[in-house]
């Protein structure tokens, strides 16, 4: 198993290296001159050239790329050319907010989607199945910005049961940051009021964000279950007298979720990109809003750092998914060897 994990990690490294190079090239070929943006509207050509030289932007692109890779490898992601602060510092504050949101959304999608898929498969073509089909089509079809606005309208404006935007109520303050996850930090600080506050703020953005994922998890679980229910080992288990709950909720499901687990890894990418829109609407102080600012201000240093960090998180999640898959299905780890 350790060998298997090591192998998965090593396989992720070339992908990350490629990400570093590719994003660098992309940020340099897109329109927009960071030096001009930085110098301001009234700057003279000489001032712009000066800035360009200071940031090494006048060098050949391959040389810039090498310098960039070297900096990344030494852990130096540079400073935002917009705010002048080290990007790692700015990201360090915002990454946990995004991760808390995406992980919570993923948790919701899994915790609701998998049982929904199981129940649908067991009632194949029954009313629950139809409902799940409706949810899985709707969940993928509904635009998240529309859903976000509707949820805000109903739950925050009309009924006033959940907060409209933001991550915390300012009067309550935030617990001392240790993990950056407010749900955890508030519990560590023993502040249940802050925990409740963080949770309440999380609900609407997370529900908005999780819906497409929930839809595809339910769909994959349903089809996985339907496929597995045809297997001889289910018939054998029934003949041998397994209990109904254990048979379906554990014995068959564990076979059926292998596909779903892979899907969850891919889903995580969609969650992070979906978070950009959701964060913007709910005013969530995460990486998504930061990335949008960086793009608008041609802050290529910030942008490179965001893509790299997101890439690392994505790779880590997928290694985790591989490990979970090997735990679920013992044949997976052996086939790799």
């Amino acid at each position: 198993m350790a060998r298997y994990i090591l192998r998965r990690v090593l396989l992720a490294l070339p992908a990350l290296f490629g990400l570093v190079l590719l994003t660098f090239v992309l940020t340099r070929v897109i329109p927009g001159d960071p030096a001009a943006t930085l110098a301001g509207d009234s700057a003279t050509p000489a001032q712009i050239a000066d800035i360009r030289a200071r940031y090494g932007l006048d060098r050949p692109i391959w040389e810039q790329a090498l310098v960039h890779v070297k900096q990344v490898l030494t852990g130096d992601l540079g400073s935002s050319i917009f705010s002048g602060r080290p990007v790692i510092e700015e990201i360090g504050f915002r990454l946990p907010a995004t991760l808390e949101l995406t992980f919570f959304a993923l948790f919701l999608a899994t915790a609701i989607g998998i049982p929904l898929g199981v129940v649908a498969a067991l009632n194949h073509n029954g009313p629950v199945d139809q409902l799940v089909r409706l949810i899985s089509v709707g969940g993928l079809a509904i635009a998240s910005f529309w859903l976000a606005l509707m949820l805000q309208l109903v739950f925050a404006m009309e009924w006033d049961v959940l907060p409209l935007r933001g991550r915390v109520e300012v009067e309550l303050g935030t617990p001392p940051l240790r993990t950056g996850f407010l749900l955890i930090d508030s519990l560590l600080a023993g502040r249940l009021d802050q925990f409740r506050d963080a949770l309440w703020h999380l609900v609407l953005p997370a529900v908005t964000l999780c819906l497409p994922g929930l839809a595809s998890i339910a769909r994959f679980t349903r089809s996985g279950m339907l496929e597995m229910l045809q297997k001889d080992f289910v018939l054998y288990a029934r003949a041998a007298g397994y209990g109904r709950f254990r048979l379906y909720a554990i014995y068959v499901l564990r076979n059926a979720v292998t596909v779903t687990v892979t899907q969850i890894g891919l889903l995580f990418g969609a969650l992070i990109s979906g978070a950009v829109a959701v964060e913007a609407i709910y005013d969530w102080p995460g990486l998504g809003t930061y990335a949008v600012q960086a793009i608008l201000s041609a802050d290529y240093k910030a942008l490179l750092a965001v893509t790299l960090v997101v890439g690392v998180v994505y790779a880590a999640v997928n290694v985790l998914v591989d490990v979970v898959q090997a735990l679920v299905d013992p044949r997976v780890a052996e086939d790799i060897r």
Partner: protein, 324 residues
């Protein structure tokens, strides 16, 4: 092993009919099937594909598919009708050996855990007792490393070893009856022989009754002392294996055995095909293909007529048909 057994049979199927609703209409899969497995005896149900063997098994095991109905008949296990009165305890009392050892075990659970779950529900004693029983059974089925087998996954065993595992599992809850569904068809010939010998030995040693479903007369002769020949959902002939194989009475059984006395059921030598379950002919279901059929064979379905020496045949003209 006794031929007719003492006292009441352990399992008796009485006038069992099973219908399944399909898009093409009602399939009368089983129609008036009657036979009994004597206590301590071994009965083989033999027939070609589509004769209703699997449905019969599923009725006995209580796992009839959706859409199946039982318009009449009973399956009496130890004198209780398990179709209508299935106490959970009856499960463990009927051990089941499935057809395909490669597909019948869940690939993502350890062998031990899969069987311990069955025992947890259907055998008395603690988990530790169950583990000990299983290891002892693994030893009895001559599995290499019986102690280590509990923690292995199915793919870590060969096909023959998996069938041994399944035999052990069938015995785990101290059953009175073992039901085996062609347990050797998925295995190669040498393994087949070992597994059959083992099955026979274990059931005899433990005084268990065996219901053995097969399409292979050779296997049948090696394992069973009683036989019921099934054709299109009805029992064509039943009796002691040796007597039926040596001197079949029903025209269908005779033709089958004439085709391949020691081989698998193969209808190449019999004109026509097995009727579809949704379009069974009236009267005797074999009459459209029977060389000795008469006008009244299409009338009332022939009942099983008792003959001498515990035999019965569902053909009123079996004596005349002999000549033809």
């Amino acid at each position: 092993m006794s031929i007719m057994g003492e006292g009441r049979p352990v399992l008796s199927v009485e006038n069992l009919a099973v219908h399944i609703r399909t898009d093409a209409g009602v399939a009368r899969i089983l129609d008036d099937v009657t036979f009994a497995v004597p206590r301590g005896g071994a009965l083989g149900v033999v027939g070609e594909s589509g004769c209703g063997k699997s449905t019969l098994l599923r009725a006995i095991l209580g796992i009839l598919p959706r859409g199946a109905t039982v318009p009449k008949g009973a399956v009496l296990f130890e004198d209780r009708d398990i179709l209508t009165d299935r106490a959970a305890s009856a499960r463990g009392r009927i051990g089941f050996i499935p057809q395909d050892p490669y597909l019948s075990l869940n690939p993502v659970f350890r062998a031990g855990d899969q069987f311990l779950e069955i025992m947890r529900r259907h055998a008395p004693g603690s988990r530790r007792d169950h583990r000990d029983t299983l290891v002892e059974l693994f030893r009895a089925v001559q599995l290499p490393d019986p102690g280590g087998a509990l923690a292995k996954y199915p793919h870590q065993f060969s096909g023959g070893q998996r069938q041994r595992l399944l035999i052990a599992a069938a015995l785990a809850c101290e059953p009175a009856l073992v039901v085996a569904d062609e347990p050797t068809t998925a295995l190669d010939v040498t393994t087949q022989r070992e597994i059959l010998g083992l099955l026979r030995q274990l059931t005899t040693e433990r005084g268990l009754s065996l219901l053995f479903v097969t399409h292979d007369f050779g296997v049948l002769a090696a394992v069973c002392d009683q036989v019921a020949v099934l054709y299109a959902g009805r029992v064509a002939e039943t009796g002691p294996t040796r007597a039926v194989l040596d001197d079949p009475q029903h025209p269908y059984a005779r033709m089958l055995l004439a085709c391949h006395p020691d081989r698998a059921v193969d209808l190449l030598g019999i004109p026509g095909t097995v009727p579809a379950a949704t379009a069974q002919p009236p009267g005797c279901r074999f009459h459209p293909r029977c060389p000795a059929s008469r006008a009244d064979c299409a009338g009332v379905p022939p009942p099983l007529l008792p003959l001498a020496a515990g035999r019965a045949v569902a053909c009123p003209y079996h004596a005349e048909a002999m000549l033809g």
